[in-house]
C-alpha cells in the first residue's frame, strides 16, 4: 500500500475495485466502514454484488476481465471534464500529454460496450473520483489475477497520476496483500528478479555486492518464475524445495501442476501438515507453526512486526530457516552457520536497502514501515510524499485486451473465483479449526436465481462445471450476488477442486494466472435434488 492502514479512514472518495475486502481483509474493511460513517463516498467496481457493492454510493457491475475498458472510460471523463490536477502532472509526472490524447477515443459509451457498465454510471464515478480532494484506490487480486494484471494496475496508476491522488493523507494506490507475510516474501528477495529489498539482480553494483556477501559468483541474469519452473519440470528443472505452499490445490490447472511435480527427480517439501503437495515429495520436513516460531511478518502497509512463540514446537518440528540452513550445510555450501532467527533477520536487514535502518532489537515493537534507509529513521508510513523513487510518475498507454479465454458456445458462462470470509486458501489451517464447519461446511457454486431456473439447475442440487481442462461437480446455491451469466466459487475445498478448471492464461510480465476469468459450461447432474 502506498498509504498506511489508518489513512483508510481519511479519504472523501474511496474507489474499491477487484477487492472483496469485507471477506478477504475484514479488519481493513472496518476502516472503510468508518470512513463512510464520516461522510466519505464509495465507488465499488466488481462483477459480483458483494458487500462493498451494497455499501457503495456508485456500484459499477463490470463484466469479469474488462477492468481496463472501465478505467479508460473513467480517464476519458476525468480529462474531458477538466478534473485533472495539472499542477501535479506538470511537477511530478511524465507522458501525460500522450496519455490525455490517447484516452480521447475511449468514451463511456465505448467502455459500456465492453464492460457492460452503463455509460452514465461511468460518468458519475469518474466525476466523483476526479473531484475528490482526497481520493484513495484499493484493490486486490481482482485486478492482478488476469492476463492484463499489469495493465490493470497501470490503468489505476494513470487515474492516480492524472488526479494527483498520491503522497498525501487519505489518498494513494493501495493493493491489499493477501497472505500474512506475502509482502515479506517479496521483500526478502524470494523473487527471480530482485535481491533482498528490491535490488535488481541485473544491476552490476548489486551483483558485486551480493557476490561478496554470499562469497560466490552469482548469475548475471534474472531467474524464472514459479509458473515457468513448473512448465519446465522434468526437463530443465529437476529438483524443487517448496516451503509452506499447497501448490497442487492453490495453483491454477491442477492436472498440469500434478504432472510437473511428478516429473521432478527430487522434491523436498517443508510444511506443518501433510497435504496434497507433500504426497508428491521424496522428503517431507516438519516445520514449526505460527504460535511456535520466532520471527517477523511484514504486512500490507509495509510494517515489519514480530511474531513470538507461545508454545513449544509440535513433536520434532523445526523452524523453516533452520531446516533450510541444515540442507545447505549438508550439501557443503559455505556460510550457512546461522544459529537463530535473530542472526537471519539481522543479515537480511544489513543487506536490504529497505530494512537497512532496523535490526531484531529495533523491530521489537513493530513501529517501522519500510523504507527505513538508515538507523534512527522513523520509517515511511506514506510513500511518494516528496517525490517518486524513480523521478517522475510515468503515464502508461494502455489498451483493452480480451481475457485469454472468452465465452463460447461450448463454454458460455463466466466463472470467477475468490475467497470466503471463514476459510483461508486450501483450508489446511481453517479446515482444522474447531467450529469453522458450522458456518462453512462445503463449497457451493453461486448462481443467479434466474440462471438457476433457465439452466435447469436446482438450488441445493449438484451441477457439473466444465472448462477445456476438466470438470468438477459442485453444489448449486441460488445467489443474487452473482450477476446473470457469471458464477462464483472459491478454491478452498479440496473435494471441490475448482482449480482443475482454471489456468487459461498468464500475465506476460508477472506470470500471474488469470484465476478471475474462466469460461465454463454448467449443467445439472441428473438425479440430484
Amino acid at each position: 500500500m502506498s498509504n498506511p492502514l489508518k489513512d483508510m479512514e481519511k479519504p472523501d472518495v474511496i474507489f474499491c475495485i477487484g477487492t472483496n475486502m469485507t471477506e478477504a481483509h475484514p479488519v481493513a474493511a472496518t476502516r472503510i466502514k468508518k470512513a463512510l460513517r464520516n461522510g466519505a463516498k464509495l465507488i465499488t467496481a466488481d462483477p459480483r454484488r458483494i458487500r462493498l457493492a451494497k455499501m457503495a454510493d456508485i456500484y459499477l457491475p463490470l463484466r469479469v476481465g474488462s477492468d481496463t475498458a472501465l478505467l479508460l472510460g473513467m480517464a476519458h471523463v476525468i480529462a474531458r471534464e477538466g478534473l485533472i490536477d495539472k499542477a501535479f502532472m506538470d511537477a511530478r509526472t511524465t507522458g501525460g500529454e500522450a496519455f490525455l490524447e490517447h484516452v480521447k477515443q475511449f468514451t463511456p459509451q465505448w467502455a459500456e460496450s465492453i464492460c457492460g457498465v452503463p455509460a452514465e454510471k461511468i460518468e458519475q464515478a469518474a466525476v466523483l473520483y476526479g473531484k475528490a480532494e482526497k481520493g484513495a484506490i484499493f484493490y486486490t487480486l481482482g485486478i492482478t489475477e488476469h492476463i492484463c494484471g499489469v495493465d490493470n494496475v497501470q490503468s489505476l496508476c494513470n487515474l492516480v497520476l492524472m488526479t494527483g491522488n498520491v503522497g498525501r493523507e487519505g489518498t494513494g494506490i493501495n493493493p491489499m496483500r493477501g497472505q500474512n507475510n506475502i509482502q515479506g516474501a517479496g521483500d526478502s528477495g524470494a523473487i527471480p528478479n530482485n535481491y533482498v529489498g528490491f535490488q535488481p539482480v541485473e544491476d552490476p553494483a548489486n551483483q558485486a555486492k551480493f557476490a561478496e556477501a554470499y562469497g560466490r559468483t552469482v548469475d548475471l541474469e534474472r531467474g524464472i518464475t514459479k509458473v515457468t519452473a513448473l512448465d519446465l519440470a522434468g526437463d530443465k528443472i529437476q529438483a524443487m524445495l517448496i516451503d509452506g505452499e499447497n501448490t497442487v490445490v492453490t495453483d491454477p490447472d491442477r492436472k498440469h501442476c500434478e504432472k510437473a511435480l511428478r516429473a521432478l527427480e527430487h522434491l523436498v517439501v517443508i510444511d506443518i501438515f501433510r497435504n496434497e503437495t507433500t504426497e508428491f515429495a521424496d522428503v517431507v520436513l516438519p516445520a514449526t507453526s505460527w504460535g511456535e516460531t520466532e520471527g517477523h511478518f511484514t504486512n500490507t502497509e509495509r510494517r515489519i512486526q514480530r511474531i513470538r512463540a507461545a508454545v513449544p514446537p509440535a513433536g520434532q518440528s523445526k523452524p523453516d530457516w533452520w531446516i533450510i540452513n541444515e540442507i545447505a550445510r549438508r550439501i557443503g555450501f559455505q556460510g550457512f552457520d546461522f544459529e537463530s532467527a535473530r542472526d537471519v533477520f539481522n543479515e537480511l536487514c544489513e543487506l536490504s536497502a529497505t530494512y537497512k535502518g532496523i535490526n531484531w532489537d529495533i523491530a521489537e515493537k513493530g513501529q517501522h514501515q519500510w523504507p527505513i534507509p538508515y538507523e534512527g529513521h522513523p520509517g515511511t508510513p506514506r510513500l511518494h510524499e516528496e517525490g517518486f523513487k524513480n523521478g517522475r510518475g510515468v503515464f502508461k498507454i494502455i489498451n483493452y485486451r480480451d481475457p485469454a479465454e472468452v465465452v463460447s458456445e461450448a463454454f458460455p458462462i463466466w466463472l470467477t473465483t475468490g475467497r470466503r470470509l471463514e476459510s483461508y486458501h486450501s483450508r489446511t489451517q481453517t479446515g482444522r479449526a474447531h467450529g469453522i464447519d458450522y458456518l462453512l461446511p462445503e463449497e457451493v457454486l453461486e448462481v443467479h436465481p434466474d440462471d438457476v431456473a433457465s439452466w435447469g439447475l436446482t438450488d441445493g442440487g449438484t451441477a457439473r462445471m466444465s472448462s477445456s481442462r476438466g470438470h468438477v461437480d459442485i453444489k448449486v446455491q441460488a445467489n443474487p450476488r452473482s450477476p446473470r451469466g457469471t458464477v462464483f466459487a472459491s478454491f478452498c475445498f479440496n473435494d471441490t477442486p475448482v482449480n482443475i478448471l482454471t489456468g487459461g492464461g498468464y500475465d506476460p510480465v508477472t506470470h500471474t494466472a488469470e484465476l478471475k476469468v474462466c469460461p465454463v459450461a454448467v449443467t445439472p447432474v441428473s438425479g440430484s435434488s
Binding site: H25, V27, A29, K34, L36, R177, N181, I182, G184, A185, S188, G189, A190, I191, F210, R216, D219, G223, I224, A229, M240, L241, E245, D251, H266, I272, F273, R274, D282, V283, V284, L285, W290, G291, H296, T298, T300, R303, I304, Q305, R306, A310, A314, G315, Q316, P319, D320, W321, A328, R330, I331, G335, V344, F345, L348, R432, H434, G435, Y438, L439
Partner: protein, 360 residues
C-alpha cells in the same frame, strides 16, 4: 488553583491542566492518571453515559455529572474523587450488581470480562443490597461454536451493540425493550448465524461482565495453570493484526486482540479470533518423512531426512547443473524462512531460480 483560567485549561483535583477542545472530562482525567471507574466505556466507542459510574463533581453543577459525556470547558473546577462521589459510585454499582450476582467469571470469557468483578472488589460492593430484577434472558438455543450468549450476566451497558455498529459496521445486534425487560438481540430475535453477525468476536471482547463469552476458550476454564499472554501477529491475511496468544502451560487456550495493535486497534475477524487451533491439531507433522522403496512416505530421523534431502539436490546439481534446482518460498512463513530460501538458491547454487507463492 488558577485565578485566571486560560482559554483551554480547567482545574482537575486542584491542579490546572490543559485540554484540547472537544475532549471530555473523562479523557482529560485519564491523561492525568485519574482512576475513574467505568462500565459502559470503551475508548474506541462514542461516549454513551449509561452506567454513570464515571460521575465527577463539577463546581457550580447541582448534581454529579458523567465525565464521559461532559465536554471540557475553560475554567471548570472538577473533583474526580470526593467521599460523596465515591459513595454515589458504590450505590450505583450495587444497583448494577443487584441484577448480576455472578461475579466469579473466567477471564477466558473475554478481554474485558473482569471489569465488573474488579470494580465490585474495589468498592467492596454487595450484590444483595437492592432487591432488583434481572434483565436479559440467556440464549442457550444458540449453539454456535464461538459466542456464548449468557445474558443472565448482562448489565445493559450496550457495549456489544455499539462495538458491532461503530467499530465493525455490521449492526448485527440490537437492544429490545427497556428497563428490566431489556434484551440484547438480533434482528427477528434469531440465532447469530442467521443475522448479519460475522463472528468477529468484538462483542465478546468488549463485554465487561462475560455475558458474551468466547466458547472456544471456555473449554479450557478448568484446565489448571495461570493464563499467560504472548504478543504476536495474526497468521491470516496481510492486514497484520496484533494478537495475544493465551496459553496455560503448553496448551493454547485462546486468543485476544491487542487493543494497541497498530494495524487493528483491537479489531479481529473470525479467522484471527477463532481459527488458531490448527497449531496444536493432531494432524500436525511431527517427524520428518522419507519416501521408501515401496513408494510410501515413512517416518525418519532428522539425520536421515536431511541427508536424503541434501543428497538429492547434490545429485541433480551434478547431473543436470545448478539451474536444475528451484526454490519456492512461502507467504505464510516468517520472513526469516523466506530469506533463507532465497539465500539457499543464491548463495548455494548461485542462481536466481527462486520465487514465492504470490503469483497464484
Amino acid at each position: 488553583m488558577t485565578k485566571n483560567p486560560t482559554e483551554f485549561s480547567l482545574t482537575l483535583d486542584g491542579k490546572t491542566v490543559n485540554f484540547t477542545p472537544g475532549e471530555t472530562l473523562y479523557e482529560v482525567a485519564q491523561r492525568h492518571q485519574k482512576d475513574i471507574p467505568t462500565l459502559c466505556y470503551d475508548p474506541r466507542l462514542e461516549s454513551f453515559g449509561g452506567c454513570r459510574l464515571c460521575v465527577v463533581r463539577l463546581e457550580g453543577a447541582k448534581n454529579p455529572v458523567a465525565s464521559c459525556t461532559t465536554r471540557a470547558e475553560a475554567g471548570m473546577v472538577v473533583h474526580t474523587s470526593t467521599p460523596d462521589i465515591e459513595t454515589h459510585r458504590k450505590t450505583l454499582l450495587e444497583m448494577v450488581l443487584s441484577e448480576n450476582r455472578e461475579l466469579e467469571v473466567s477471564p477466558l470469557r473475554g478481554y474485558a470480562s473482569q471489569e465488573l468483578t474488579e470494580l465490585s472488589e474495589r468498592y467492596q460492593a454487595r450484590t444483595g443490597r437492592f432487591e432488583g430484577k434481572q434483565s436479559g434472558e440467556s440464549r442457550i438455543d444458540d449453539t454456535n461454536p464461538f459466542i456464548l450468549r449468557d445474558y443472565d450476566l448482562c448489565i445493559s451497558c450496550y457495549r456489544c451493540v455499539r462495538v458491532c455498529a461503530e467499530e465493525e459496521g455490521d449492526y448485527a445486534i440490537s437492544v429490545m425493550n427497556r428497563g428490566f425487560e431489556t434484551q440484547i438481540t438480533t434482528e427477528f430475535g434469531g440465532l447469530l448465524k442467521d443475522s448479519d453477525c460475522t463472528f468477529c468476536g468484538q462483542c465478546v471482547q468488549t463485554c465487561p461482565t462475560g455475558a458474551l463469552a468466547d466458547k472456544k476458550a471456555m473449554r479450557y476454564s478448568e484446565t489448571p495453570g495461570e493464563i499467560i499472554k504472548t504478543r504476536s501477529i495474526c497468521t491470516y491475511c496481510g492486514v497484520g493484526c496484533s494478537v495475544d496468544i493465551m496459553t496455560k502451560g503448553e496448551q493454547i487456550v485462546g486468543l485476544q486482540p491487542a487493543m494497541d495493535g497498530p494495524a487493528n486497534e483491537g479489531a479481529l475477524c473470525i479467522k484471527g479470533q477463532f481459527a488458531y487451533d490448527f497449531v496444536q491439531h493432531e494432524d500436525r507433522l511431527t517427524t520428518p518423512l522419507v519416501r521408501g522403496d515401496d513408494g510410501e512416505l515413512h517416518e525418519a530421523t532428522w539425520e536421515e531426512a536431511l541427508d536424503k534431502a541434501a543428497d538429492g539436490f547434490k545429485r541433480v546439481m551434478r547431473i543436470h547443473g545448478r539451474h536444475a534446482v528451484y526454490g519456492v518460498a512461502s507467504g505464510r512463513t516468517p520472513i526469516e524462512g523466506d530469506y533463507m530460501m532465497q539465500r539457499f538458491i543464491r548463495a548455494g547454487f548461485g542462481t536466481n531460480y527462486i520465487d514465492n507463492c504470490s503469483r497464484a
